[in-house]
């Protein structure tokens, strides 16, 4: 399968501290790629480099390349990159003063879209894709903050999808959710792979095993192993990977 996103010799720093080092990794198109590893291994830094979020933090820098469909994203305007590569965060962050409807179209409005029919169509399509439509179709004017945690996270996914990104990054999207809400997000991830390239950072190895086609294991800023998910959890190539996933670490 073709790589939609590829990092080439990617390193990133917070001030003098190197957080990730020389990462070369492919993220396949229309597939789910998971990144796992212990806290501080650099997995969130890596995912934040993929849509130039890392540089929003002062005193950070990046070396190497992130290639999206053949283009180096660091040669493109950051806003364009973030429109093409959306992101969903650990904690759902709907705009609290906006309605559900306005939350979904916020990105489109920022991009200058004013046509009501187009906005309506985007709301319908994005909420359906995020498996939230049936639950909120009669209350689109209610505040996004009035939804449950799981619904808020799906609202954030709908908001990210509304601008029709090519890639969706998810940084621990279920860590604040109960098992039922988590299952809904996981089902959603499964369905979204048809249309999007997904990259998910997770602490939950079983979640990676359930949803991802390929899984990468990182440790101390290094990429230790990337493998088909089934192989990584059944017969990892690297001893370090085996030690981590079986809990025999340190």
């Amino acid at each position: 399968m073709a790589a939609k996103v590829r990092t080439e010799g990617l390193s990133a720093w917070y001030g003098p501290k190197k957080a990730i080092e020389d990462i070369t990794l492919d993220f396949e198109e229309h597939a789910v790629s998971a990144i796992i590893g212990p806290s501080g291994c650099g997995k969130s830094t890596l995912i934040r480099c993929l849509n130039r979020m890392h540089e929003t933090i002062p005193k950070t820098r990046v070396e190497g390349k992130v290639v999206l469909g053949g283009e180096d994203i660091y040669a493109l305007p950051a806003v364009t990159v973030r429109r093409r590569i959306g992101m969903v965060f650990q904690k759902a962050n709907p705009f609290p003063t906006m309605s559900i409807y306005e939350n979904v179209v916020a990105g489109l409005r920022l991009n200058g879209e004013r046509n009501r029919d187009k906005l309506d169509a985007a709301v319908l399509e994005s909420l359906k894709q995020a498996a939230l439509w049936d639950e909120v179709k009669d209350s689109l004017d209610k505040s996004g903050a009035s939804l449950s945690g799981g619904q808020q996270q799906r609202l954030c996914i709908a908001r990210a999808l509304a601008v029709r990104p090519e890639v969706l990054l998810m940084d621990e999207p279920c860590s604040a959710l109960d098992p039922i809400a988590t299952a809904k997000i996981e089902d959603l991830i499964f369905d979204l792979r048809k249309d999007y390239t997904l990259v998910i950072v997770t602490h939950n190895m079983q979640q990676a095993a359930r949803v991802a086609d390929t899984t990468a294991f990182m440790y101390l800023g290094h990429l230790i192993e990337v493998n088909r998910t089934r192989d990584l959890f059944e017969k990892p190539r690297e001893t370090l990977t085996e030690s981590y996933i079986t809990g025999r670490f340190g």
Binding site: P38, M205, Q206, A209, F233, E234, K235, P236, T241, E242, Y244, I245, T246, G247, R248, F249
Partner: protein
């Protein structure tokens, strides 16, 4: 990554599983040794001990199955832990089948004894085949206990030798029966024992192949004996 307490519980469960597997393997091997020994001496009392061993094997197999299901359900094991548990689940069936065949050989002994003592040359040939079969079982079990994939990589070739002995024995028994040198009912029982031993060797191969998977994660391809012979340099 599993938490420390969870990891400890899994380790304890795996340790218990390993101990039970070793016991099960020892019981199965003992059953087959006793069964062949009882047949050689036409010793009905020894054959009855095999029936008891078979019951033990069956009971322990069920316990191991429950252990494995608990470990899978409670700890979501991965990598070598997962391979150890799934391999144990599969191997218990092979060991149980070996125990069953031992019991079947025991039954043949009891029935043959009713026919009166005999010192057929078939017994010696079956004994020879049994020795090789038991060696295969022993090798496979030892590989499991030692987590040694290398020692079982050529177990299929030993199985080919057992298969050849099976075919030769079968031909010889049929020949002697048709010449009237061997009673039909006794010859038929020898044919059964001959077949049981051949099947036990097949189960030893299964165990060996699964040990390779458990240790390395690699599935050995199944190659038919005829294809192996074609590919052989000789």
């Amino acid at each position: 990554m599993p938490q420390a307490a969870e990891r400890k519980a899994l380790q304890k469960g795996l340790q218990k599983l390993n101990e039970n597997m070793v016991t099960l393997a020892e019981l199965s091997e003992l059953a087959i040794r006793k069964a062949v020994d009882a047949l050689s001496r036409l010793d009905g009392e020894a054959a009855k001990e095999v029936f008891m061993l078979d019951q033990e094997v069956y009971g322990l197999q069920l316990e191991i199955e429950h252990n494995c299901v608990d470990l899978l359900a409670l700890h979501a094991p991965v990598a070598r832990d997962l391979r150890t548990i799934t391999t144990s689940l599969k191997i218990t069936t092979d060991l149980d089948r070996i125990g069953r065949y031992a019991k079947d050989i025991g039954e043949v002994t009891v029935q043959s004894r009713a026919d009166g003592p005999g010192a057929d040359p078939e017994i010696a040939r079956i004994r020879e085949m049994a020795d090789l079969t038991i060696r295969m079982v022993d090798t496979a079990i030892d590989a499991f206990v030692q987590r040694n994939a290398e020692s079982v990589r050529n177990i299929v070739e030993v199985d080919d030798a057992v298969d050849r002995m099976h075919d030769e024995n079968f031909g010889e028994i049929v020949r002697r029966m048709s010449e009237g040198k061997l009673k039909i009912d006794l010859g038929a029982r020898y044919i059964l024992v001959n077949r049981y031993l051949e099947r036990i060797a097949d189960h030893a191969v299964n165990i060996g192949m699964r040990v390779v998977y458990m240790v390395t994660g690699e599935w050995l391809p199944r190659v038919r004996a005829a294809e192996r012979a074609e590919g052989s340099p000789n």
